[in-house]
Symmetry: C2
Subunit: 459 residues, 2 copies
């Protein structure tokens, strides 16, 4: 129960100005980017120091207040939807880059640091933080780690998990847990950092995160390949990988998405194309030339109707920024937009693209498909209106059909958006009842009163 006395206790260490109970404040943090019913929390907390963060966690646990930590709320699986008797804990008061170590190539950050902010800060020092989720300009690193965020560069550079060297976090009792290291190798103790990555705030609350940095690629080349047949485009994706070329990015957009993006961004995309690929290769200049040549040849051989190499950084940035606007562009077309991220082994991309087209016709729903085809991670995006109940039934069936096809192709429910609330009911399809029981044992042992973001991942 949230009593005035308890609010006063939170205020003693958070400051009165960082404890919010006004309806307007609470409504603001009732939803995230997933298509799910909002839940208005009872309380919003905003710690501005690690010490206050730990105390807030402990006090929530002692008073059995469900606690949902929220970065920018950009996640797409309902991971930051709170409980109505619960608290939302904002990390935007914990937004300092604590260290950028150039000699040993790592950064230490508080959880509320904006992803693109870190990327820019390390770039100034001649270093590179590769993970680039679509929401990077607003998303936080704490959120990225909690969701194991992916992005456009996953194919060559991996995802957030691959850059987490260590995490300091508070357990549910407010005790500080240290895991990982500032060394590139660490085999000391359990890999708790590995467990915490992608745990969606259910096992602990991040205080400091140590992230690996790498030298930036010396050179890069971006290309746009246009196809008059969607299957030719998806087969080209599989062929590039099969030829052992690993582009930094290899993005796919179907005609529906191309037109929506062009309407939105006016970047000069080929609106009459059936599909297009955006490809960027990077590395040593000689490697880049060779890879670019091979990619171009493959595109032509497999039937691209045109290929354009970006002439300068401005052209490249214009095209990439158009691609990054895909979700916003599609979201303008209909009241409800559902962005899925079922992922398949890369060679199955042609099958998955065909499956999505079939599902679109079968359920009579417009589905725009784009995404990180190079790593098998497509984003079929269903355009609908949740208020249309009849259509919504078809939408739910279509989502399940997408999951079923992805799993049948050896894939996974989520490549990068996480399980959250949205996919927890499908988890058993991919794993096994015993896997969920095993996961619940961990959760119960670490959070016996089920305070830490209850209901996420394992329901």
């Amino acid at each position: 129960m949230i009593t005035p006395a308890l609010l006063a206790e939170f205020s003693t260490f958070l400051g009165k100005e960082n404890v919010f109970t006004d309806p307007a404040d609470r409504v603001t943090y009732s939803y995230d980017a997933a298509v799910l019913a909002p839940v208005i929390p009872a309380l919003v907390l905003r710690p501005t120091s690690g010490e206050a963060l730990g105390k807030a966690v402990r006090l929530c646990n002692e008073n059995r207040i469900p606690l949902t930590v929220r970065g920018a709320g950009t996640n797409l699986s309902g991971g930051t939807i709170p409980k109505e008797n619960g608290a939302v804990l904002l990390t935007n008061g914990l937004n300092r880059i604590l260290e950028i170590n150039e000699a040993d190539m790592f950064a230490v950050v508080q959880p509320g640091v904006i992803t693109a902010g870190l990327a820019a800060a390390v770039e100034k020092k001649g270093l590179f933080y590769p993970p680039d989720p679509g929401s990077q300009s607003v998303s936080t690193l704490g959120g990225n780690v909690a969701e194991n965020a992916g992005g456009l560069r996953g194919l060559k550079y991996g995802v957030t998990r691959d850059y987490v060297m260590g995490i300091q976090f508070f357990d549910v009792n407010g005790e500080l847990i240290k895991t990982g290291s500032k060394t590139v190798k660490c085999a000391t103790g359990y890999n708790l950092a590995g467990l915490l990555v992608g745990s969606e705030g259910t096992l602990g609350v991040f205080n400091e995160i140590t992230l690996k940095l790498i030298p930036p690629p010396a050179h890069r080349k971006a290309m746009m390949a246009v196809f008059d047949d969607i299957n030719k485009a998806s087969e080209t994706v599989a062929a590039i990988i099969a030829n052992r070329i690993i582009p930094a990015t290899l993005e796919f957009l179907d005609s529906f998405t191309i037109r929506a993006v062009e309407d939105y961004s006016h970047a000069g995309l080929p609106v009459n194309a059936a599909a297009m690929l955006l490809i960027e290769v990077d590395g040593h200049p000689a490697q880049v030339e060779e890879d670019a040549h091979k990619v171009e040849t493959l595109c032509r051989t497999l039937g691209a109707s045109s290929i354009r190499v970006a002439q300068d950084d401005a052209e490249r940035d214009r095209v990439w920024s158009a691609r990054r606007s895909a979700l916003s562009a599609l979201a303008k077309l209909k009241p409800t937009v559902i962005l899925e991220d079922a992922t398949v082994p890369r060679s199955k991309i042609p099958d998955m693209v065909r499956a999505i087209q079939e599902i679109s016709s079968e359920y009579g729903l417009p589905i725009g498909t784009f995404g990180h085809a190079g790593d098998g991670n497509l984003h079929p995006t269903i355009l609908t209106d949740r208020r249309n109940r009849q259509e919504w039934v078809r939408v739910e069936k279509a989502i399940e059909a997408i999951f079923d096809r992805a799993l049948a192709l050896g894939g996974t429910l989520s490549g990068e958006h996480g399980t959250g609330i949205a996919k927890s009911c499908y988890l058993e399809k991919e794993t096994s009842p015993a896997t969920i029981i095993y996961s619940k044992r961990i959760k119960s042992a670490l959070d016996p009163h089920n305070i830490l973001n209850p209901g996420k991942i394992i329901g």
Copy 2:
């Protein structure tokens, strides 16, 4: 209690020939490569199918028989030393490569597959499995994953953890748990695979492991740089990294190790050198030429007395195989050899090399230092005789001093050998009491009767 009835039950599904109780068999599996007292198990089991493996785990749990899974027993921290009332479970009957998927670049293996065997099998198909622990010619992939094994290529290519895409394992009840995926991105459910990597057989028993493969580097160049001053060599290591060159391997050997290795291998190493570096750069030929040139210049600038580029694969292989024999070479010199792997951020390598020299003089003990300097992972190797009790007291103090210095430099107790029994008592130095309690909560929840390799990691 291990009764004749229970042995008969194990025999029903393992086959009588795979249940061992003879003293000779039991003694064989009483020790590993760590300098620790052997413990003779009561029973040795050898399943030859996944089904039998799951049943064996369940039966051990039901009968409260401590179970230590053993690959090749090459680990250096006592992770495979069993309990005297316990069973050792051998994985050498589970040694099949189940799939090498060329299109999607992954392999699925049983836990008993030999590391070098997989590496050779994927090489034949034009692919590359980079992790190369020193014991790769005999070590198993199950053991590598359980210990999060490192190796010479950690600097550029990472360690075993970076190649584990998914694990199917049995929980203590013999139920099959599925985690991870065959896709390059997976954010479904908890990252149980991440938790299981490096958990030293304490949280589950591996049935199948899915490992990431990558395209092999197109070209490589190996060099040997010789120094007449150990500090010059260690400063060159730090300078190479600071100049943003990431060699595939960057190995350090001090004079003591060079002489021992040369006596053992007759590979033509410079026996009068104070230290040497073995450096290999790989990648696109143009990149290799550039990096090799930069490395050579740095070596000369920082005082290398000579640099030799391997003229062909035979010369390269001779030198690397000499390096790989370092532990065996040192082990010939004294009855007891203790190989540590405390690891520091890479810029601290010069400090750590000096610290080890000081500790060697302070405690009057010969310490040969070699290892993966490029990733901060040195192997100070203490030569002693455990029967000399007076000296052993100094050895224990020297080990503790090495750990303390590594931690003071921002490092970790273990870069790649794991915690096991040998380092569990030091774990609190690096982490915190709360971290150990958190770890114990996980262990108790997943293994309530403490059957799975008891006593490892968290004591």
